[in-house]
């Protein structure tokens, strides 16, 4: 099991990614909103300690809808399984924007500015995703690494997050998982990268997914 934590220089957190999380897919927000994003980024990001934990475990695709990772069977459904041919291992992970960021956002929320709250939420999303990017970068093995996949996305039932957490120690990175599969701190992520010599890394095929409101969706407005 590998564990890590890091800080991000606010200027290194790409504004474009925050805009994307805010719903600006291919559009640049007006200057006033860009300035608000910068101000909140500069205020909140220095408070954040991003944490992550991962393990590399044996994994295999069992059927067009099922797979096994670390001895545990999962049912991530057809979309994700279609990307898993050739998988021999998986890098299972959790990551979080951290409790410190969560506390900073709660302080902000108390100020009662809904616009700031919305932007802060998007910054948290990008911070949590930064932990995933760090883990992908950390992986130096020779097997091909896939895109990351998470319970709750691409039709993978979010309840299987409990199965995923069973591969980690209690409260990894301080993340608590509720009975309803809600992670706390809220800005946390979990999932896996498929690994395999014969694996082919494929982009997300959002066009075949029915979840039109997914914030990661690339073919929607």
């Amino acid at each position: 099991m590998t564990e890590g934590a890091f800080h991000i220089n606010p200027a290194d957190l790409p504004e474009k990614e925050i805009w994307f999380a805010m719903g600006y897919k291919d559009t640049v927000p007006e200057e006033r909103i860009r300035e608000m994003v910068r101000q909140l980024r500069d205020r909140l990001v220095p408070r954040a300690t991003v944490r992550y934990m991962y393990d590399i475990v044996p994994a295999e695709k069992l059927s067009p809808r099922r797979m096994r990772m670390g001895g545990v069977e999962f049912n991530p459904e057809g979309i994700i399984c279609s990307y898993l041919d050739g998988m021999s291992h998986a890098l299972v992970f959790v990551g979080t924007a951290g409790v410190e960021f969560d506390a900073a956002v709660k302080e902000l929320n108390a100020e009662g500015d809904i616009v700031a709250d919305f932007i802060a939420d998007s910054i948290g999303t990008v911070l949590a995703e930064a932990s995933v990017a760090r883990m992908e970068k950390d992986y130096t093995g020779e097997e091909t690494i896939s895109m990351p996949y998470s319970p709750g996305y691409c039709n993978w039932n979010i309840r299987e997050q409990h199965l995923l957490f069973s591969l980690f120690p209690e409260q990894p990175c301080g993340i608590r998982l509720s009975e309803s599969s809600l992670m706390a701190p809220e800005k946390s992520v979990s999932g896996f990268f498929a690994l395999g010599e014969k694996l082919v890394r494929q982009p997300y095929h959002c066009e075949i997914c029915k979840n039109k409101t997914c914030y990661k969706r690339r073919d929607a407005k």
């Binding site: 805010m22 719903g23 600006y24 559009t27 927000p29 909103i33 608000m36 500015d113 809904i114 616009v115 709250d117 919305f118 932007i119 939420d121 709750g152 039932n157 979010i158 309840r159 509720s178 009975e179 309803s180 599969s181 809600l182 706390a184 809220e186 979840n211 039109k212 409101t213 997914c214 407005k221």
Partner: protein, 205 residues
């Protein structure tokens, strides 16, 4: 276009406050100001959002400007006994702590003239019923972001019906759709905050 309309459409709260005061100084009634400038501005930004010309932050900035103007008008409106469009009790259902989308809907509803009672997140069916009863609510809005918590919405709908409250129930949240809303017996579903306002208005008509 008048300055108040412009200030709210563009989401400029300080300018909206100045403009609303200027309108009052010009002897306009609060209701005329709201109907003539403020509501049309919110409708315009809502239409821009629907057509992809505006984004969530634009909606929120306008709602914030609307609220700052309403804060000046509300005390006067009470004196005139002006009524709101209706009372909405809103919350994220039990087991779910996602607040941001629900708060967005609450802001938009408030900005468009509804009296909004925001119960926060992780709200039980008993709390929804109690708040709806206390506030004589016209609508209950339920939010959920998890597939694991959307099921609780059905329990709330059933409990509200069992309690015999004369309210409409709206649902929303990323994993939901209109079919789910119909299946659990809700009166409507909206996929975004602007649509929620349109739905709320139509449910009361």
């Amino acid at each position: 276009m008048d300055e108040l309309y412009e200030a709210i459409y563009r989401g400029m709260a300080p300018k909206a406050k100045i403009a609303v005061q200027a309108s009052l100084d010009a002897a306009k009634t609060p209701q005329d100001i709201i109907d003539g400038s403020m509501i049309p501005a919110m409708e315009a930004i809502g239409a821009d959002f629907e057509s992809g010309k505006a984004f969530v932050p634009n909606l929120l900035l306008s709602a914030r400007a609307m609220k700052s103007a309403l804060d000046i008008l509300k005390p006067l409106m009470m004196a005139e006994q002006t009524v709101t469009l209706g009372t909405v009790v809103i919350g994220t259902v039990k087991g779910d702590l996602h607040d941001i989308g629900k708060n967005l809907v609450a802001s938009m509803l408030e900005g468009r003239g509804f009296n909004v009672i925001n119960l926060g997140a992780d709200v039980s069916k008993e709390r929804f019923i109690e708040a709806a009863r206390e506030n004589k609510a016209d609508i209950i809005c339920l939010s959920a972001l998890l597939t694991t918590t959307m099921g609780y919405m059905q329990e709330v709908v059933e409990a509200v019906k069992e309690a015999g409250l004369p309210v409409k129930i709206m649902v929303g949240g990323a994993p939901l759709n209109a079919e789910f809303a119909a299946k659990i017996g809700a009166d409507g579903y909206s996929s975004n905050a602007n649509e929620a306002v349109t739905l709320a208005k139509s449910l009361l008509n």
